[in-house]
Structures are given as structure tokens and as C-alpha cells.
């Protein structure tokens, strides 16, 4: 909502001052992504996904603050109002509890709303509808009332937006049975997961990341097809490795990949897993990887206590205890509200060097 976000968006600067514009080495992209010479930003990936699903199914409609005439606070819904008209794209007043409830009610009655939260921090004003009205309805009604709704928007830290605008909600939403919680990283993730979410008959919380919107990723022909869809509940191995497993999601996948490159220089081969889906959590892929490497580093931006990493660590300790050669490691946001000053903000978020250090610890290497 603040104008300064627009400036930060254009610069594409992350909290740590590192540019996330990917001038990645060709080897990483060739290995990690389906070969393709096309590139797409996450923003365009999301926009095209919503566009295609709206075109395919007249029951899909978009609702949220500034999604229509303003073209979207982050331009994710750009062009949709012009293309589909005001009967498919609805600008709402700043009343999250009200419009989220209306979205859930519309889903009860068979429509397929895509409700945008300008950021997930504002979803707290509507959280009763997400949890009690949406997540639990299919169960309480023994299957009579399903809720095919998608709640989407930017989640987690942006840059310099302070404590009330920087929280990560992955852990909270992913703890709720009846919800599905997705977190894309790349453009392919964004397209495939959002399309899957919109088609899904259950309520989906779709956690995007503001700082990834402007990032470009290679994208395959397959991913550009309008029928493209990624499975919900399946993680992706972004980089194969044999010495340590690094598990993370969203923006931290990029940091983990950078950390893996640094570790490779020191002879440590890291396997990087991009969760894609926080709920359902792909425990099978995570555990299979740890059984191969014997070491686990989990990374998230959100608060450390009771976080996503805690669940992953618990799962691995429970299911793959005898395979572990080192204690499980968690790298997370600092256990403090997000400060504003740039240096403090940097300290409050995981950095590449934190991931490298934790991986080395798991490998019993000194700094």
C-alpha cells in the first residue's frame, strides 16, 4: 500500500542488498530446469496462470484490493479487468474479513474465487474465514460443502517494510488440516502450482514472495502450455547432491542454490530440495534425500519457533533417525519482530553464509 514499495520493486533489491537478478551460471539452469530458451518473470507466470484458468472456467473470478483498475498492487492481475470485465474481476473495499467471507460463501455455492491479500499480513484480519469457514467445512459437513477457493498474495519479508508487513505465514496455515499450502519459487513453479491451486476443489493458501515477482527464470514449452499443471504435495529436487540435504521453499531456494555453489567450491555436494508444497508436505522426498546424504539443513524466512523447519526436522528425526550422521540444522528468521534499519533487517533474515555455515556444521567441518 505504500508508494515506496513501488520503488523497491523496480530496483529488485532484497533485504540483504544482493541483487536477485539471475545471471546464473548456465550449468545450474541447464541442470535445474527443463531446457528452454524462453524466460519468464514470476509476475508474468502468475498473471498468465490466472488468465488461462479464467479463460478455461467461467466460474473462476478474481477479488481483492486494487486487483482491477489499479492492475494489481504488484501487477499480478494486470490486464485481467480489461480482458474479462468487471463481472470477473472485483475491486473490493479495504475490508478483509468481509470480502474473504464473501469469497468463501461464493465458493460454498460453487464458484471458484481467487482472493488476493495485498500481503498475507492482512490475511490475519480474515483468518477466521480461512480456517473456520473454509478449511474445516468439507469435514464438518461430511463432504457436502467443499470450498474450491484460492487465497493468494505475497508472504514473508519484503525490503524495509518493517515488523507489521514482513511476517511469514507458512507455518500457521500449514498446520491446519483441510487447507493446502503452496509456495512457488520459480516461474515454472508459479504457473504450475497456481493453475493446480485454482483447479483444486479444496481451499488453497498460495504464498508468493514480493521480491521474486520481478525475477526471471527459464521456462519450458511444456510449462507454457495452458494445460500445464504441477502436482500438489510433491517437492522438487533443484540440485542433486550427496553430502548434505538442504530443504527450503520460496525465496530461500535461491539462497540455498547459491549456498550449494559455495559449498561445492569447498568440496561439499549439497542436495537442494524446493518444497513447493508446505501442506501436504512431501516427507517421502525429504526423507529419501536425507537417507542418501545423512545430513539435514532446513531453511525458512519465518520465525523459528514452531516453524516449517521444526516440522521437517521432526519428520526426519522420527523416520530417518538411524541415517543421520549429524544433528538436524535449522536456519530461520531471527526470533524478533522485523526491524526496519537495513543492517538489522539483514541480521533478521537468513543469508547465504548462514546456510553455508550450517551445512558445514552438519558435515563437521570447521569454518
Amino acid at each position: 500500500r505504500e508508494k515506496m514499495w513501488g520503488i523497491l520493486r523496480q530496483r529488485g533489491i532484497d533485504g540483504g542488498g544482493l541483487s536477485l537478478r539471475r545471471t546464473r551460471s548456465a550449468s545450474v539452469s541447464a541442470r535445474s530446469y527443463a531446457a528452454g530458451s524462453k524466460e519468464m518473470t514470476v509476475r508474468d507466470a502468475l498473471n498468465s496462470a490466472i488468465d488461462e484458468e479464467m479463460s478455461a472456467d467461467p466460474k473462476v473470478f478474481v477479488m481483492g484490493e486494487e486487483v482491477g483498475q489499479y492492475q494489481g498492487a504488484y501487477k499480478i492481475t494486470k490486464g485481467l479487468l480489461e480482458k474479462y470485465g468487471p463481472e470477473r474481476v472485483y475491486d473490493t473495499p479495504i475490508t478483509e474479513a468481509g470480502f474473504t467471507g464473501i469469497g468463501v460463501g461464493a465458493a460454498y455455492a460453487g464458484l471458484k474465487p481467487v482472493v488476493e491479500f495485498m500481503t498475507f499480513n492482512f490475511s490475519m484480519q480474515a483468518i477466521d474465514h480461512i480456517i473456520n469457514s473454509a478449511a474445516k467445512s468439507n469435514y464438518m459437513s461430511a463432504g457436502q460443502i467443499n470450498v474450491p477457493i484460492v487465497f493468494r498474495g505475497p508472504n514473508g519479508a519484503a525490503a524495509g517494510v518493517g515488523a507489521q508487513h514482513s511476517q511469514c505465514y507458512a507455518a500457521w496455515y500449514a498446520s491446519v488440516p483441510g487447507l493446502k499450502v503452496l509456495a512457488p519459487y520459480s516461474a515454472e513453479d508459479a504457473r504450475g502450482l497456481l493453475k493446480a491451486a485454482i483447479r483444486d476443489p479444496d481451499p488453497v493458501v498460495f504464498l508468493e514472495n514480493e521480491l521474486l515477482y520481478g525475477e526471471s527464470f527459464p521456462i519450458s514449452e511444456e510449462a507454457l502450455d495452458s494445460s500445464f499443471c504441477l502436482p500438489i504435495g510433491k517437492a522438487k529436487i533443484e540440485r542433486q547432491g550427496k553430502d548434505v540435504t538442504i530443504v527450503t521453499f520460496s525465496k530461500m531456494v535461491g539462497f540455498a542454490l547459491k549456498a550449494a555453489e559455495k559449498l561445492a567450491e569447498e568440496g561439499i555436494s549439497a542436495e537442494v530440495i524446493n518444497l513447493r508444497s508446505i501442506r501436504p508436505l512431501d516427507r517421502a522426498t525429504i526423507n529419501a534425500s536425507v537417507r542418501k546424504t545423512s545430513r539435514l539443513v532446513t531453511v525458512e524466512e519465518g520465525f523459528p519457533q514452531h516453524g516449517v523447519c521444526a516440522e521437517i526436522c521432526a519428520s526426519v528425526v522420527e523416520e530417518s533417525f538411524s541415517y543421520l550422521d549429524a544433528p538436524v540444522e535449522r536456519i530461520a528468521g531471527a526470533d524478533v519482530p522485523m526491524p526496519y534499519a537495513a543492517n538489522l533487517e539483514r541480521l533478521a533474515l537468513p543469508q547465504v553464509e548462514d546456510i553455508v555455515r550450517a551445512a558445514k556444521r552438519a558435515c563437521y567441518r570447521s569454518k
Partner: protein, 389 residues
């Protein structure tokens, strides 16, 4: 709007009228005009006429169904005290006229959503006594297969969307259903019911604002029974004129103990909402029971008040007087009807008591529509696991 009441009337009568009736009343559709007991009070609209068009059949069916609802709720009280119903149980006795009058004015394409005092609304929408008692006792043939409980009855095929435990949440949800009706061009409306307690919820005003902005066919029905749990309306609301609280949204205050006033108001509201967007109906009603079974209901109001309402305003008594004064049945015939109803309720309870509880595997069903085979866990995850279908 042609009054094709027969085709539009919801299927209230679950059984043919008693054979005890010598006259062929069951097919008697002789029109009758009933005057409402009180005039309507209007806000930003012209109130409807006090003359309500009805018929012999409707009058008798009102009596029968309300008596059935009353008996059902009293029986639920006993079952709760016998510990066969657990948790929360919010009873509707005293408020039956609202449920019945509303059904008489609308079709099953029109939607209803309410809070947790939902047993009679469910019955009015075509639910069966057996489904009600089985659900209350947590049995597998309950309307929510035992998974919901008293506060979570649904009947989607009759556009009844529950049954909600969070005070006020059902109002935006109802406006969302109205949104979908408009989006799909269904020419139907949604009645979002709430109490005088919920009337102060912020989300209600948010939903009303959007409904008015987007011209949604939402009808907000405040069942003002004058107490939000133990708090009297004057202690909770600076302005207890709930029908006026919509500000720019028209409203109507209705005698909620008069089924015909309710019917007239709902008919009026439906016509209004389809043309002009949202409207608020305030039903002046009363609950004989406390807020729930754990509330005696007499610590914040006097027994005299309760018995006074029962004497002066009981909705079933009012219909009974009309039936008798219009010579549609004798006292004895009505008493026989009540006996039959009692038996019907007792039979349903007996059948529900025999129904088994849900299978343990039901713990893990309906978490998702599409579970993709995800794992879900019981209390001891190494002991109890399930793959969600």
C-alpha cells in the same frame, strides 16, 4: 409476481395430514387472508401490507410443522440432560415462526445460512427428524455423518449452507452465496440469519457495504431474541434498532412470533433484493430456553418475562387460535395431531439411538475432496496413519 404458492412452497409436510381428519383438508387450498398482529415498521422503504394471503392447507401445515419443531427441541433438551447429546446444544423453541414463515415465502433455490441455532431451519429446509437426532447424538446417519454436531447441520441440495459456530461469520458467507446467485444469474436470494448479539460484528457491516455496492441479493435477517447469550440487547448495542443499522440499506421490523408477518416480510424482502440489493429484516422473537443447554436462561431475565411471552405471544398458540377460529380443525383434532407428532419424534429418537457411531476410519475422511494419498496421522503417529483419498 403470481402467487403460485403450491409449486413454490417448500416441502414442509413430511407426512400426509392425519387420517383423523374427516374433512378432506389435505387438498383444501381455499385461500384465506390473515392480518398480521402488528404493522411493519420500515426504514427507507414502504412496508408491505398487513394482509397476508394464505390458504387452509398452509395454515394447518404451519401448525403441524411448528409443533413438530417445538417437540423436536424439547426432546433434544431431554436427550442432552441424558448425556446423549454432548458439547453445545442451542435450542430454537419460541422462534419457530421465523423458520416456518421464511420457508413459506421462498423456494429451495433461495439459500439460507444461519448460526448455531440451526435445528429447526434444517428441518424447514427438508431435513428429517432422524438425521437431526442421529447427528445430535453423533451417529453415522446424522446429516453430517456425526462429524459436525449440533452447530453444523447442512443441506446443500436445499440450499441450506449451515450451521456455523463463529458468531457473525455466517453473514459475509451468506452475502457470498448471494454473490454466486447473482454471478450465475439464478434469480434467487440468500437469507443470512444472525442474532442480536452478532448484529454488532464488524464483518457484518463489511459484508453489507459490499452487498450494497455490488447490488447483491442478500437479505440479512436479525433474529432479535433480545439476548446475546446472557447480555441483554440494551447492554450490547448503543442502537438496538437492528432494522435501521444498515444505515443506507432499507430495513423492516417484523413481529417474529407471527408466522404470517414473517412470511409477508420475507416475500417482500425477496422481491426487493432481486431488484434493489440488500435489505435487513429484524424479527422480534424470543427463545424460551437459555442461550444453550448449559445456560438456565433465568439469571439474566425473569421467569415472569419468559412465561409472559409464552402466554401472550407464543407462535404456535397464535396459529392454533387461527385454525380454530377459521374452523379448520377442532381442539381434539389438533391434540391428536400433537400426539402423532410426539410419536413421530419418539420414533425418530429410538431409531437414532440404534444407529451406530461412525467407523474409526471416518476420522480421516472428508479432510480434503482430493487428498492425493497424503498421509494423515492419529495421536500416536507411529501407531495410527491414514492415506487421505
Amino acid at each position: 409476481m403470481a402467487l403460485s404458492r403450491l409449486s413454490s412452497r417448500s416441502n414442509i409436510i413430511s407426512r400426509p395430514l392425519s387420517a383423523a381428519f374427516r374433512r378432506s383438508i389435505s387438498t383444501d387450498t381455499t385461500p384465506i387472508t390473515i392480518e398480521t398482529s402488528l404493522p411493519f415498521t420500515a426504514h427507507l422503504c414502504d412496508p408491505p401490507s398487513r394482509s397476508v394471503e394464505s390458504s387452509t392447507q398452509e395454515l394447518l401445515s404451519f401448525f403441524r410443522t411448528m409443533a413438530l419443531m417445538r417437540r423436536m427441541e424439547i426432546a433434544a433438551d431431554s436427550l442432552y440432560k441424558a448425556k446423549l447429546i454432548r458439547g453445545f446444544c442451542h435450542l430454537y423453541d419460541g422462534q419457530e415462526a421465523v423458520a416456518i414463515g421464511m420457508e413459506a415465502a421462498i423456494t429451495k433455490k433461495d439459500a439460507i445460512i444461519t448460526a448455531y441455532r440451526d435445528h429447526c431451519i434444517f428441518l424447514g429446509r427438508g431435513g428429517s427428524l432422524y438425521e437431526v437426532f442421529a447427528e445430535l447424538m453423533g451417529r453415522q446417519d446424522g446429516c453430517s455423518r456425526g462429524k459436525g454436531g449440533s452447530m453444523h447441520f447442512y443441506k446443500k441440495d436445499s440450499s441450506f449452507y449451515g450451521g456455523h459456530g463463529i458468531v457473525g461469520a455466517q453473514v459475509p458467507l451468506g452475502c457470498g452465496i448471494a454473490f454466486a446467485q447473482k454471478y450465475s444469474k439464478e434469480e434467487a436470494v440468500t437469507f443470512a440469519m444472525y442474532g442480536d448479539g452478532a448484529a454488532n460484528q464488524g464483518q457484518l457491516f463489511e459484508a453489507l457495504n459490499i452487498s450494497a455496492l455490488w447490488d447483491l441479493p442478500s437479505i440479512l435477517v436479525c433474529e432479535n431474541n433480545h439476548y446475546g447469550m446472557g447480555t441483554a440487547e440494551w447492554r450490547a448495542a448503543k442502537s438496538p434498532s437492528y432494522y435501521k443499522r444498515g444505515d443506507y440499506v432499507p430495513g423492516l421490523k417484523v413481529d417474529g412470533m407471527d408466522a404470517f408477518a414473517v412470511k409477508q416480510a420475507c416475500k417482500f424482502a425477496k422481491e426487493h433484493a432481486l431488484k434493489n440489493g440488500p435489505i435487513i429484516l429484524e424479527m422480534d422473537t424470543y427463545r424460551y430456553h437459555g442461550h444453550s443447554m448449559s445456560d438456565p436462561g433465568s439469571t439474566y431475565r425473569t421467569r415472569d418475562e419468559i412465561s409472559g411471552v409464552r402466554q401472550e405471544r407464543d407462535p404456535i398458540e397464535r396459529i392454533k387460535k387461527l385454525v380454530l377460529s377459521h374452523d379448520l380443525a377442532t381442539e381434539k383434532e389438533l391434540k391428536d395431531m400433537e400426539k402423532e407428532i410426539r410419536k413421530e419424534v419418539d420414533d425418530a429418537i429410538a431409531k437414532a439411538k440404534d444407529c451406530p457411531m461412525p467407523e474409526p476410519s471416518e476420522l480421516f475422511t472428508n479432510v480434503y475432496v482430493k487428498g492425493f494419498g497424503t498421509e494423515s496421522f492419529g495421536a500416536d503417529r507411529k501407531e495410527v496413519k491414514a492415506a487421505l483419498p
